[in-house]
Amino acid sequence: MPDDRSDSVPPESSADAWDKLASLFETAMAQPASTRAGFLEHACAADRRMHAELSSLMAGADDAPLFLRAFAGDVVTPAFLAATSATDATSDEDDVTAEWSFTGRRIRHFEVGAPIGRGGMGVVYRGRDTLLGRDVALKFLPSERFADPAARQRLVFEAQAASALDDPHVCAIYAIEDTVEGELCVVMHFCGGGTLRERLRDGLLPIDGVLRVVAQLASGLASAHRAGIVHRDLKPANIGFTDDGVAKILDFGVAVRFGSDDAPSVSVAAAGTLPYMAPEVLRGEPADARVDVWSLGVIMYEMLVGRRPFADTTDAMLIHAILHDPLAPFERRDGAAVPVDIARLVTEMLEKDRADRPADGREVVARLASLSADRLTLPPRPPSAVREWRGAPRTLRVIAASVVMLLVFISIAITTNRGRRNRAQQRVVTPLEVARTVNPLPSVAVLPFTIRGGGDLAYLREGMVELLAPAFDATGLLRAVDPNSTIDAVSGSAALDSARARAVAEQLGAQRYVVGSVVRSGEGAIVRATLRHGDGADVARAQVTVAHTDQLTSGVETLVRQLVAAELRAPGDTVAGLAATMTSSNRALRAYLDGERELRDARPAAAVAFFTRAVEEDSLFALAWYRLARAARWSEVDSLNARAVRRAHALSSTLPLRLQQIVEAYYALRVGSPVEAERMFRQMVSDYPTDVDAWMLLGETLFDNNQFQGRATGDAAVPFRRVMALDMRNREVTVYLMELAARANRIGELDTLFQMYFSPNSAGEQPGIRATYLAVHARRAQLPEPAIDEPAAARIAMGRAGSEASDVRAIGRYAAALAAPTNTPRTRADGLLALATLAWTERAPERAQRAWGEVALLDAEATLFHRALMMASPAVAVPADSLRSVRRALDVAGTTTDVPGELSKAEQRSVRAYLSGLLSRQLGDTASLAKTQRELAAVRGADRLAAPLSAALAGHLAVSRGNYVEAVLAFERGVVAVPSQLRARVPALGQQADRFAHADALRALGRMAEAERWYGSLRDGPALWSLPYLATVTDRLRTLK
């Protein structure tokens, strides 16, 4: 074992001997080569052995580091890669069986097949009993426990416990075998029908099906309890089905015996899986049969309702819910009613006090039987029809359709018979015929293709995923799994064998998946693809020959339509086409795929260039516009993002459904209403939990907007971490996580994320972001901070600095760098306004005045807005005269034609009115405030700001009239929907004054927790525009405590 303490302890003198040797070595090597020998003679005069040792070591001093480095490349790296290659991948060049895998071995008359599961107590492989000719499951101890006597004993106990039961619903144990190496192996019945966990993951189960399964489980438990055995870890993953659909309880790995002696229960240690653990187990009380009754109750609820009764986001909340919360109501997503009697039984099984539960499995069986004799009888033997299907010869009906298009030849083979059998058996695959009416649509994962015969086609390995996924979306019958999830989920081994493909599809929650190959053929290629159902059965195959790679898009479209049509057994032209999702220009397509690759490799600026080329080649290429918008945002080119997102949105009707939803929601985030965007993204991730893009954008939405809704920006970490888990390659998300780690002062995480983001394998192209986070990291770790002088970098760094004292000081430095006279007017103005903000915050209005004087020459409008904004803050008490003069300037309609950012003229007028209203509030001029508010509320048309800003003014008005209830309501109306794009451009839209007044109003109403959240929102996030509020906010928060 690897622990230091288990090492044999060397003699006391060993460390000293080494230190002496090492320091002599070091000293000797520091000598010039000519005097080394003499030094050694002198130093080791009394110790010849030391002399010999040192001489022999020094002989290799120059070569050693080189040798070890070469050794790493020649030996260690290849060995490590071989040692960690996928256990079940059988790639050509790599025939080394990964260690610890039993696959391929023979143990007596059992052949070990692929691994099918792993738990703490063992690894389970599929196997074959060659003597009896049946499939079995073989369970071994995990590698690290082969030799552990307690673990072996435990495994034997498990086998004895299960085999003592002899119940049709407890997985049968056939034998325990010893391998040649002395490893233990339990031979069990093989459950070919998967586990309940897989069934649950695929969607709601029909109620009568649930009852059949429950009756079987209760019967299995009843046997165990009769024999005095408590399972203790009953959960869907531990419930298997035979090929015939009979349910079996698996894994008695933590079972204990009770009642064998005089003790009625066992009190050694508690075990289980948290969501299924009974309250008394959490409290550390001894387990008895009622623990299993509880777990079965949770499973029943989950099967009936489609979610767990106490599901919650964190373990702590879950534990609290299990201990204290009542059951969530029995509401199925499909609206079907859960029979009242059943709901009552489940409620009893989930009583917090175990005395109120059915006493054991036997009682549950009895209760179920009494409920409704006709529906709840124990399951009949499997229906004979299923058996017939299984026994039927695999007649392969081949429908070959050859369609000669201009340059495309297609042939399809459909294995109709297998398809039908499959659909009958595995009910969880939604038939495509009904998919049109079902929401969410069934999903399909396109796995990377195998490429043969041409390095120049290598880009198609992942390129085919990018191409086929939207083509499936376009059919309107299937929804493709986000290509990034798929690409990340697949290991890099050259061969994606069928078991692995199936496992990946399952992991991605896809009910169908597609594998295929591209083979070079002259100028063109042959593309083959197979559509499979989740259980691995072929549903359809198609092949397309494209005469030239230029025709790839139309070839892919045909391929997908044929695959889907084949499953429907309908002619291909009845399936909706890919339409204009992609592009007919091969050059645009190639540029798009290159851009995707750059994004994956975290080079957003390069991606921007490629996507720009793609839309230059084909200006109607909606998908490329969308990806351009994303890449532009990542590389901090917001103006480009604005243009691209509008363009993508305008063209989105050509996109398939998934992308339409994404683009729509992204448009809402950037240009429309973020509240709406959040709703849409939440819906998407709940329907498609593996959609990386949707998670990413949900995170971005929360990150950008939470503070404006009185919520913590840190909440965004949840979706971002989900992105990380789904797509480890995603480097965009590391930027956000770095930001969150920096704000939460998690140095270790920041450090690691930073190193990952800028690791040699990944982005090095964003000096601004690199400099920003280097500086942030230095500040947090209290190290000397590198200066940032380059304006683009300083702007990013300034925009991301937080509200800690060291950050605020840094803002001053960045602002000064931006304000340098050599910079462009726009940059200088930004720097000077930031300096003015700092001066105002430090209660030095004269200094702010000087800065404004300079900016006014560059941008009079922005200066005016900024002055008003500062005067509305609590930092400095401003004389009434100054307030009035600024308000007068605001009330004179601006004559500007230069639209800053994305603001229309009408929207600029709204901002003026809003600022004027704020100054009226400062002046105590309620009448003017009311008038301005009325005027703003009356604005109609495309002005996105009039509604939220007039609501905010209504809030301030209500505050000044002492009507806090109304104020809170008005502010809540104002919270909605200032698009992210505008917020980023116009400091006034940070709405600090509103948030502050909102918090004050809540405080006045005694709603302290909410007040705290809203005050807190001013310290959460980039500090620049909140600076004048920070001191007051800190005071207020202190008084709240």
């Binding site: 690897p2 080494w18 070591l57 040798f67 703490g120 075990a271 001894p286 270790g748 690691t752 394998n761």
Partner: protein, 236 residues
């Protein structure tokens, strides 16, 4: 009613509770070891395990090591794809990714993080030595206890892979020898060579000065080189 201690609840899937646990009762300790072996899915588990390990709880250390070992293999598989056939092993990146993926590790202090990295380096070495041992066993049908290196040069090219494994095993044997004679420099080699740890991280992890790390690293390299060279491997 029993008060629930947070670290017990946060141990992950399988939860170990204090009932029946008595000092000196070996069977209980073993049972707890068996029960809590799944990858924890809550934030504090890893932190807690590290803390217990550094406090001398060998069971926690073993468990953590088992987790790291498994996770490292998973990550290595994934990273391998990311390199697109560019077979350079970036151990530093590997260990960093491990750190991020292990739930709860991110909450570690800089000091504990170094310990964590050192453990990961150890796991890397273990993966390699397990692999070498296993491959050699398969090749010979018996345990690999001695490596005949004298005639290594005579091995035909088709068995190059086998030769590589033998060289790897030779390195492992040399490390075991170093570990037996001088444990500390062997740790340094583990951190630097297998974990890609920087000098300062290694110093943090092993609780020694950076100067010592540098010296140990230099001398241990030479020591290993001599050991391997004496076995006729250095010119391969």
């Amino acid at each position: 009613m029993q008060q629930i201690r947070s670290e017990q609840l946060r141990d992950g899937c399988r939860v170990r509770l204090p009932y029946g646990e008595q000092a000196g009762d070996r069977s209980d300790v073993q049972l707890s070891e068996i029960l809590v072996t799944r990858i924890p899915d809550s934030d504090d588990a890893v932190t807690e395990m590290i803390r217990r390990w550094t406090d001398g709880d060998a069971v926690a250390g073993d468990r953590l090591f088992a987790l790291i070992y498994d996770e490292l293999r998973t990550i290595a598989r994934r990273q391998r794809r990311r390199w697109h056939g560019d077979d350079t092993l970036n151990t530093t990146a590997l260990v960093h990714e491990l750190f991020l993926r292990m739930q709860g590790a991110r909450a570690l202090s800089v000091h504990d993080r170094a310990h964590f990295y050192a453990l990961a380096a150890r796991a890397t070495r273990q993966i390699l030595s397990n692999y070498a041992r296993r491959t050699l066993t398969e090749k010979r049908g018996t345990g690999a206890t001695t490596v005949a290196l004298a005639d290594a040069a005579a091995v035909p090219a088709t068995e190059a892979r086998g030769l590589e494994v033998e060289r790897l095993w030779a390195l492992e044997l040399a490390l075991q020898e170093l570990q037996r004679l001088h444990p500390r420099p062997c740790r340094v080699v583990e951190c630097r060579y297998f974990g890609g740890l920087s000098i300062s991280d290694t110093a943090l992890a092993l609780n020694i000065s950076e100067a010592t790390v540098k010296r140990d690293w230099t001398v241990a390299q030479v020591w290993l080189y001599r050991q391997l060279r004496d076995q006729g491997l250095s010119d391969a």
